[in-house]
Symmetry: C2
Subunit: 460 residues, 2 copies
């Protein structure tokens, strides 16, 4: 890949300007008021794909937000890389914790600060620019397809059906995804596993109206207290999840593999410092990287009920709510877990309340074998640009659709993520270092080159 | 008390119109934006006291919202009744559950529907009109003082200091309060005991910023999960509160007194039906009336943290919050309990989070002896107007200042409450039956008459 560094240097301000236009569109998929922004953002992507060199690009309808599809086919006998990314972003609340406006990107201290700077506008846009470079310098070695969805942050609901419908159009040898992280700027890594996800909305109802906490307190169940007890009971004293049969299908990792994982650099003191915590907290018998990499977990993502405003209203509320999620590992079936939790949690309700569990979304875990061509090509690409062999890591995060791709399209994915743990994705002050942004654009073309070499048997 | 029924009949629409003017002022003490409404409401009361026959009335400054004070002194040797009430009201959220606008009172199905219809605008205004009747018909048998505060719903913070400062002005033989309920329209009752109150704001902090629940879930403490566990641990399996020494000072009620209490009409099936619950829930070994009357309790009045909006954001939040209150009984010291909980709950925090408890407000429990002159006078007044002897009951609610009056001013209170359990005070669709409103105005003058008779030895 000749001249990639020079090409980036010559175009770096334009790359940023273009990315910022994408970021400025508040494409929050979880909030209905942003429906029009989703379409605007999809159209902007279409424009960018055509400008970068795609033969065609379309905003295609789905049952939800549209998918942007684009392609450049240069030879029927050549390999095909399908780039997947998402143009939707997370909500921004609590707004008061942001140091800048979430949708007005700024560069400061060598980072881009904005919602979507990393996840996934910044990361997916690197692929558009790497593609542009290969096209304009005549170095594109294979066919390329792009698929950008607008519902990743709410579970990719419509994309499953879209894939079912467009299997032929989406045919490819590998799906290339940048929506994960790497260990550090001087420690490249490739995500070889992702956790699955299951998410539920929970509603606990006591009396049919809010009550005076003095007149009724002590005699009528308080749905907040009951919900707290029910949530507390989901873990035992050792941090194990207590839902019956929850661990039945969890893949047990061998001591050998655990020993290998333990070689990845990890400094617990620095980890704690980076979060300002005095102690980590999790399942007994597992290290921190194991707790997020190879073990499932259960978290309350949101809870509310009663008086949450100013002052001290004395109320015994009628209802309490929670949003509960689990992260799953291979080989847990997310649909089975979804049913299992609903049945267990509703049945666990004491007589004095009623509990309603509504499954929200979910997806399976994914594991990428270290000996597949795409993994080897990615490994070589990082080694070329970072001067260091990347470490395989298992991410605690989930990209449920990645397991879906394998199931529906029969195509494996390679997760070349360039984010850092400090990027604050899903949180206030999301950011993405310029170093990672440009290094990603530099590394991606080498992946194409090495991947085609390996598939054609030209590997050195 | 001659002609009280006729007087009410002749003036009933005016009484309502005047009350509605008070109700229309949204005097929510818990919300800072209503500061001006507090002053407007106090001035309206001043105007009403003067119109009803007070010699003087003033809006007096305090360290918080103003106090309205008014008086009519007709003889230095006569008894003095000090009427206490409050012109502030509770917040109205959740607004979507109201069938009418909370500050636009309407009469429907024989009830007044509005925030403050009962608590305490409706109930306190009965005293203004009973006073007006006695003055205008020349039947006022004693001196009358009025004191209306604007902070009852937030703990009467400023009134304690106001009482300390104005002991002489507030001298009286009894404090007359209508801020409680009665059993039913055909079952008059007098509240002979009130629970005390302690209220805290709790904040649990994990990491110093919101985290991605996938990347960190399972390894970093989730403050919502921890808060739920800590709240769950505040009760044992029998519904006892687990805070060490919490019950040390609780007055043990004799089996005889419990047997007497058990004679009050109470139908558990109707109770459950009125709340749409399948089962009551409380401390083992006590009946429902005992659980709210003679036993303390602990309730979470509000909880929030993480993503509480639309959609399914996967976040491991930095903070979780709760508003926790206890209702206390004789002889628990609310200041001691306040310190006890703060120390216990903060110390109970595991290493992985920090917990901050901020005491909000509190007050002691109060017991009114059944043989004091005011109780006997009230009993006789109800018997006259309802044709039935009222039952002494212990309310689960709290009017902390009532214990404060006894401590600071050395004056007992008599709690002639005319509200019903169905009035939905502190909740959406607060209401007050017209029957109770007018019956209160009718009953109050008899209390004055009988009280003066008893004090002067003229009792029949």
């Amino acid at each position: 890949m000749k001249d990639v560094k020079n090409y980036i240097e010559a175009n770096k301000q334009r790359f940023l300007d273009e990315l910022f236009e994408l970021i400025r569109i508040p494409s929050i998929s979880a909030e209905a008021e942003h429906k029009d922004d989703m379409v605007r953002c999809a159209n902007k992507w279409k424009e960018y794909l055509l400008a970068a060199g795609a033969d065609k690009a379309e905003v295609m309808p789905t049952t939800g937000n549209p998918v942007v599809y684009g392609e450049k086919i240069i030879g029927a006998d050549l390999p095909t890389v399908l780039v997947y990314g998402h143009y939707d972003v997370m909500p921004v609340a609590p707004l008061e914790l942001w140091n800048t406006q979430p949708f007005e990107p700024v560069v400061k201290d060598g980072h881009i600060w904005a919602r979507g700077a990393d996840d996934d506008k910044g990361q997916s846009f690197m692929h558009a620019k790497a593609f542009e470079f290969m096209v304009r310098t005549g170095q594109l070695p294979c066919n390329v397809k792009f698929m950008l969805e607008g519902e990743e942050e709410i579970g990719s609901g419509a994309l499953y059906g879209f894939c079912e419908e467009h299997k032929e159009m989406l045919r490819a040898d590998i799906i290339l995804v940048s929506d994960t992280g790497m260990l550090a700027q001087d420690t490249p890594s490739i995500t070889s596993g992702l956790r699955g996800l299951c998410y539920w909305d929970v509603e606990v109802t006591g009396a049919d109206h809010d009550l005076h906490s003095g007149i009724y307190g002590g005699a009528v169940a308080n749905p907040i207290n009951i919900l707290c007890k029910m949530i507390a009971d989901l873990h035992d004293a050792d941090g194990h999840i207590t839902i019956p049969h929850f661990y039945d299908d969890v893949l047990v990792i061998s001591d050998e593999e655990r020993a290998l994982m333990a070689q990845a650099p990890y400094d617990e003191e620095r980890y704690k410092q980076s979060l300002s915590i005095k102690a980590v907290h999790g399942e007994k018998g597992f290290t921190t990287p194991e707790r997020t990499g190879i073990r499932p977990c259960l978290d309350v993502c949101g809870i509310w009920g009663g008086h949450t405003g100013e002052g001290s209203k004395t109320v015994l509320p009628s209802k309490a709510y929670a949003k509960i999620s689990t992260r799953l590992v291979a080989n847990q079936d997310y649909q089975k877990v979804s049913r299992m939790f609903k049945e267990y949690f509703e049945a666990a309700a004491p007589d004095c309340v009623t509990v309603k569990v509504t499954p929200s979304h979910g997806g399976a875990a994914y594991v990428s074998p270290l000996d597949m061509p795409a993994y080897r090509a990615a490994e070589k690409a990082y080694t070329t640009t970072f001067g260091k062999r990347p470490i395989p890591t298992r991410s605690g995060g989930s990209i449920p659709i990645v397991a879906g791709f394998e199931r529906i399209l029969g195509i494996k994915s390679i997760l070349m993520g360039f984010g850092l743990g400090s990027d604050a994705i899903h949180a206030p002050n999301e950011n993405y270092p310029l170093f990672n942004f440009y290094k990603g654009i530099e590394t991606i073309p080498y992946f194409y080159e090495y991947f085609c070499d390996i598939l054609s048997g030209r590997e050195a």
